[in-house]
């Protein structure tokens, strides 16, 4: 721990100024943090962390010991308040910077883009630092913007005391540089991968929109896009009309694994599954609901009845029906009872007689 006694008179005077300024610094840190968070939220920019700190007295003493003469007054020390934004991707560092420019006044003479300081053959601490001031005035503060991997680099670098007074042998410096280079490469690859995935999603959305469903493989992403077309709404409304039921919205994503278990490979397969089974699914639902006064229905009802009809038409019988419930509801003996109930009701319907041989209650 450094004692204030190690400072000269000027240094001690700066420390005194710091103590008087401390309440203002606390307010400044909170206000800057609030303004930046709000601006990032407004622009839908999600970051891994936004943190702030006020420089401790000990840390300031350490700094003043080394270069106290450089500062005429405490306000010349620009990192008394520090904000740090850690982003997922490299390009988001620039987005955060663009927002910071709008929210704060930037002191361009003091700000530095450490990402551009490297020699062509060196790697390391890649971070963007702005020295800022609130639009309403007050002391300056430092804003650091970096990716999660840049943060990892600088945290480890700090932890290992890489920049201390002991001369580090060249082989260790080389190891550090190799790791830094690797992190930079990974950062770039993550950003590139994100761009590729975004392009892929756009292509899939366009194929779905244009009805070219056979070309779209069935996956969580594509099924989610497909659901935006509300492919089950028509059948749900038809079933709901039986008892003038209200339709309660429920996620259909848990049914994806069920559809995959049927061997459906593309959205085209899912569309065929709907087209080929809708009338029979309606009849099955009707045979159950018409005898009740149930006037609320889950939006998953259509998909559930379609699945049952599909399984029965494929000869899955009672066992196949139980597997549906096991898939969506977890395995349980009670699912056997539901399968029996559905199977008995389905036996009275015409589509079962067309598949009689394969549906004799196996």
């Amino acid at each position: 721990m450094v004692s204030p006694l190690t400072l000269d008179l000027h240094g001690e005077s700066l420390i005194q100024q710091y103590r008087e300024l401390l309440p203002t610094l606390k307010q400044l840190a909170q206000e800057a943090n609030k303004q930046l968070r709000q601006a990032l939220e407004e622009k839908d920019i999600y970051v891994t962390a936004i943190e702030y700190r006020i420089k401790s007295e000990n840390s300031l003493i350490g700094k003043l010991e080394l270069k106290g003469a450089k500062y005429k007054s405490i306000e010349d020390v620009t990192d008394l308040v520090g904000l740090r934004v850690i982003t997922f991707y490299t390009d988001e560092v620039d987005k955060v910077a663009a927002i910071a420019k709008r929210v704060f006044d930037i002191d361009w003479q003091e700000s530095v883009d450490k990402r551009k300081l490297h020699q062509l053959d060196s790697f390391g601490y890649n971070s963007l630092h702005y020295i800022c001031r609130l639009k309403t005035g007050g002391p300056r503060f430092e804003l650091q913007m970096r990716t999660a991997l840049q943060h990892v680099w600088s945290t480890i670098e700090h932890d290992t005391g890489y920049k201390n007074d002991v001369k580090i042998p060249d082989e260790f410096i080389r190891q550090f540089n190799r790791l830094a280079g690797m992190l930079e490469l990974i950062d770039d690859e993550f950003s590139r991968l994100r761009i590729v995935l975004t392009d892929y999603r756009r292509q899939v959305q366009s194929l779905v929109k244009n009805g070219r469903l056979d070309e779209v493989p069935l996956s969580a992403d594509t099924f989610r896009n497909y659901l935006e077309l509300h492919p089950f709404d028509r059948l749900n409304r038809r079933i709901a009309a039986v008892n003038q039921a209200e339709i309660y919205h429920a996620s259909l994503m848990p049914f994806l694994s069920l559809l995959e278990s049927f061997g459906l490979k593309s959205l085209g397969d899912v569309q065929n599954f709907i087209d080929n089974n809708s009338d029979d699914a309606y009849q099955l639902a009707l045979s159950h609901l018409a005898l009740t006064d149930l006037d609320i229905l889950s939006s998953s009802a259509a998909l559930l009845y379609l699945s049952m009809v599909h399984v029965l038409k494929c000869g899955g019988g009672r066992k196949g029906l139980k597997l549906i419930y096991d898939n969506i509801n977890g395995e349980s003996d009670a699912n056997g009872m539901l399968a029996d109930l559905m199977f008995e009701q389905a036996r009275t319907l015409s589509f079962m007689h067309m598949n009689k041989e394969s549906n004799d209650g196996k």
Binding site: L289, L294, L297, S298, A301, M337, L338, M342
Partner: protein, 100 residues
Amino acid sequence: MNTVLKEENNDLVMYFEGRLDTASALEVEKAVAPLKESSGHDIILDCSKMDYISSAGLRIFLSILKSAKPKGDHVYIKGISDSIRAVFAMTGFVNLFEFK
């Protein structure tokens, strides 16, 4: 319909006895209010002695689920008869709840 609310092993357990239909829905709605206000407890709806559930009853169960989910609490339905389970299956709600 009779309802009893108990706290058991940090779970809130609501016991239902009788018919949960339109006639009893208003009273039950009031009885389940503490379940919706609670946080940090899993909820067990014990239907071992429930004879019947109507759409009004389903709506009450769904409203309990809707308030519990964002808080990260689970809602379990325990001991339902085959005929009540069939109601959940027919209406497509069978995968929304966890059954014990």
